[in-house]
Symmetry: C2
Subunit: 137 residues, 2 copies
């Protein structure tokens, strides 16, 4: 079953605001984040909240060169991307490419939470940055 | 249990791109949207996709004065807001106000999908527009 994952971006130096949204999600969901993880390759710190069978992931840039820092510079803080779990990421990538969507990486790469991931270019997705992800077995 | 709802905004006149994201979600989720609804008070057309126990809602402005049209004018197309289902919206609004969050409406208003809703000001939520919602019984 596809699982929705929602990621919100926060800059490195905005601890009070980051705490704001962390506190908000904990209040709304009745639980603190259940895990934190640093993805060195993407220069990002993450924390995860469970919401039913979906999850919300908070992203914080750990370096000014991080894609998250660049996103915030361009668009401001806010919701970053939307992830869908797929059974076979290579098959989904091939199918979506055939349908006219643009892949941001031609091969799956390793993301947070033990997943292979691929992003789609937002120019064909109404500006919504969409990530496909598949558990690494 | 709180349910995540993710809303993406699309302008009225961008049918090809709107079809793009509609097609993408149908491909990823293996099903078309299960419902459409017009919310006259917000001047918006909506369509809903199921994702596990959460849902993705697509929003399209039906009038240039719609809050969605204004959002797109300011920030461009993309993910609009994140909704959390709560058991008692008035109690949640009171608690969040006491915690220092700012409500965009002091009384719950009627939203899509038979819900009472209240939005929080993004200045205290790391730029993430958050909606509380509760089923109207």
């Amino acid at each position: 079953m596809p699982v929705l994952e929602l990621s919100a971006a926060s800059p490195r130096d905005s601890t009070p605001r980051y705490v704001g949204v962390t506190k908000l999600f904990a209040l709304l969901l009745g639980a603190e984040h259940y895990k934190t993880e640093v993805v060195e390759s993407e220069k990002v710190s993450t924390s995860f909240f469970k919401v039913g069978d979906s999850k919300v992931e908070l992203l914080e840039a750990s370096d000014p060169q991080s894609p998250i820092a660049k996103f915030i510079e361009k668009r401001g803080e806010g919701i970053h991307h939307l992830a869908f779990e797929v059974a076979d990421i290579k098959a989904s990538m091939k199918k979506l490419k055939e349908e006219g969507f643009t892949l941001l990486n031609e091969e799956p790469k390793t993301g947070a939470d033990n997943k292979l991931v691929c992003f789609l270019h937002p120019k064909h997705t109404t500006g919504v940055l969409v990530e496909l992800c598949q558990d690494i077995k």
